[in-house]
């Protein structure tokens, strides 16, 4: 495939939409909500061009349902929302996990709870992304730090969704979603354009939930000789209800393990100046940009600071966090919430001192605030 590279100046939300189209998404169902609405607006125009369909549903519950239906029908589908809408989607995110329907949910995080500071940024849906829907389950969530990330990670989100037959959350924030930067758009990669594992077995023998060695079942969309079946209830390989304790254990463990066994590949992180750092700053999303600036300023003061940027929030990058934090004497975790990620860092790195920089007033965290925390760890 010829690589066509196209450099543009665009907004994070626009880059997310273009990333989705590049990944082959041709169906969007959503309910407008600030600060994600640009994604819906772009889809309403671009999907007409691309031979896809934009649907404005009656609420976020319906939006999430419609993209699951589209995925069942064999189409790459996504939705975009913000905190309150993400809350409404949770029951059907559980359905996507249970029925193993690949789809992408974009959450441009804003302040909460409830309507809160409706248009102001936050990073407080970290745990909602992980545990918003009920029951034991795995989820994949990616956090962009730049407009380029918005584009690239949306493509990665679709790839992960297809590969693991799972919903994937693109957990962005208002700052990244509304920021404008230069972006290099690539031609869709072969991987991005490919649909999920197609069923290529003997006709008439298809079992919708018969998983391969990787724990992921193959997929046959409706309309083929083999009937497609998807079931929110506990089911076995045939797709029919099976409530035996053994089967329930097997299914829940497989849904969990298919993601966690591959965590080494799914977990993406970035490191800056971590080789010799005494103070490690662990951050994600827009805050990671301030963290880099703070670390550089700290180096100018002679403080050996380094940054670990969490790109894959879930599964949590335990290995990278343990490695970087194991070297440091202190860890600073800036986040626009009251410590949701700091808790995870504490879980995996029991040694050094952990200092949170937490801001919930609807303003981004400034480099100087992180710098002060870095200085504070040495006193």
């Amino acid at each position: 495939m010829t690589q066509v590279r196209d450099t543009r100046y665009m907004q994070g939300n626009e880059a997310i939409a273009e990333g989705a189209f590049a990944a082959g998404a041709r169906f969007f169902a959503g309910y407008p909500i600030t600060p994600s609405s640009e994604i819906a607006e772009i889809c309403s125009r671009r999907l007409l061009e691309l031979g896809g369909v934009y649907m404005q549903m009656e609420d976020e519950i319906a939006s999430m349902g419609a993209i699951i239906g589209a995925s069942f029908a064999g189409v790459k589908a996504f939705t975009a929302t913000s905190g309150p809408g993400f809350s409404l989607m949770q029951e059907n995110i559980g359905l996507a996990i249970m029925t193993e329907m690949p789809c992408v949910i974009v959450n441009i995080q804003r302040s909460g709870p409830s309507t809160g500071l409706a248009t102001k940024p936050a990073q407080a849906d970290v745990m909602q992304a992980r545990w918003g829907t009920h029951g034991d389950h795995a989820i994949i969530a990616l956090c962009p730090t730049s407009v380029q990330d918005c584009y690239d990670l949306t493509i990665t989100a679709f790839d992960y969704a297809e590969r693991f037959r799972s919903p994937v959350v693109l957990l962005a924030d208002e700052i990244v979603g509304h920021m404008r930067e230069r972006v290099v758009l690539g031609a869709p990669t072969a991987q991005a354009a490919t649909r999920r594992k197609p069923y290529d077995g003997e006709p008439g023998k298809y079992m919708p939930y018969l998983a391969g060695d990787d724990g992921v079942p193959s997929f046959a969309p409706p309309g083929l000789a083999d009937l497609g079946r998807a079931n929110s209830s506990m089911h076995d390989e045939t797709g029919f209800a099976n409530n035996t304790p053994d089967n329930a254990t097997r299914v829940i463990r497989r849904l969990y393990d298919k993601v966690y066994r591959a965590a080494g590949e799914i977990c993406l992180t970035r490191e800056y100046m971590t080789g010799d750092c005494d103070v490690a700053v662990v951050s994600f999303g827009a805050t990671a940009r301030a963290a880099r600036a703070a670390a550089m300023a700290a180096r100018e003061e002679g403080i050996k600071a380094g940054c670990l940027t969490i790109v894959t929030m879930w599964p949590f990058p335990d290995v990278a966090v343990t490695r970087v934090c194991g070297r440091a004497k202190a860890i600073v975790v800036p986040e626009m919430n009251l410590g949701q990620v700091a808790g995870e860092v504490r879980r995996v790195s029991c040694g050094p001192r952990i200092v949170g920089v937490n801001k919930v007033n609807g303003e981004g965290i400034r480099p100087v605030e992180i710098l002060e925390a870095i200085r504070g760890t040495l006193s």
């Binding site: 169906f27 589209a70 069942f72 309309g223």
Partner: protein, 291 residues
Amino acid sequence: MTESKAPRGANRAYKRFLLQRALPHFWCPGCGNGVVLGAIVRALASLGLSPSQVVVVTGIGCWGKADDYLNVNALHGTHGRALPLATGVKVNRPDLTVLALMGDGDCATIGGNHLLHSARRNIGVKAIVVNNLNYGMTGGQYSSTTPGDKITSTSPFGDPERGLDIAGVAAVAGANYVARSTVYHAAQTETYIKEAITAPGFGLVEVLSTCPTYFGRLNSMRTAVESMNWLKSAAVTAKAAGGMSPDDLRERIVIGRFCSRTDPDFNQRYEEIRQRARDRGFRTREVVSGR
């Protein structure tokens, strides 16, 4: 009755839609669900469809288990969300017959908003609603269709709320095809389901059903036969109802075809919009089936 007396040939074609190995079904003796299931499989067979061309989307509840007995593509979803799920399927695969099987709780109570907007949108999904006037699966509590004053497990002295007219709401909201029947009127139910499937746009067939275990037992209908007799005697045709006073109609069930329009469905409207964009110089790609 011996097997040899049953008619042979095309009218046995329904068997390919029925998962006979899954039978007997788990519904209570006297439940009307089996009657509606029979009407659906006969309707699908008589329309000459094949199982792979049919997608059944179900919600939660007694009737939400219907997909377990159907040999078609099936998506068993969450409570009240069958219509949005079915919408996602139908928009992307307009070539398929998409049925949303819902109870009164699924369709009109928790899913009431989706009912309104699916009808308004005129999406080409066919809703087959079994209305047994209460929540059977969870123990017979009142639903949004329970008639006022009726006894249920959460309205021991009568329901303070009034029942919702599902078919009426769908017709007013813009569904192309709306009809109501009862499980006593099995042949009519089958006809309505066939008509709904062949009509363009959103179709809804509401079937009043029996729940002898809860609704019937708590409301002076001690057996399934008494429940059936109540449906038979309470039913009045739309035509006859036209000449009756509101007082006369209070305890009656109006059955019949309430609307049968040919307005363009959502998919057709969307393609018209795509054409309009093209006419204005927008470069649009051809839709590839299955995308």
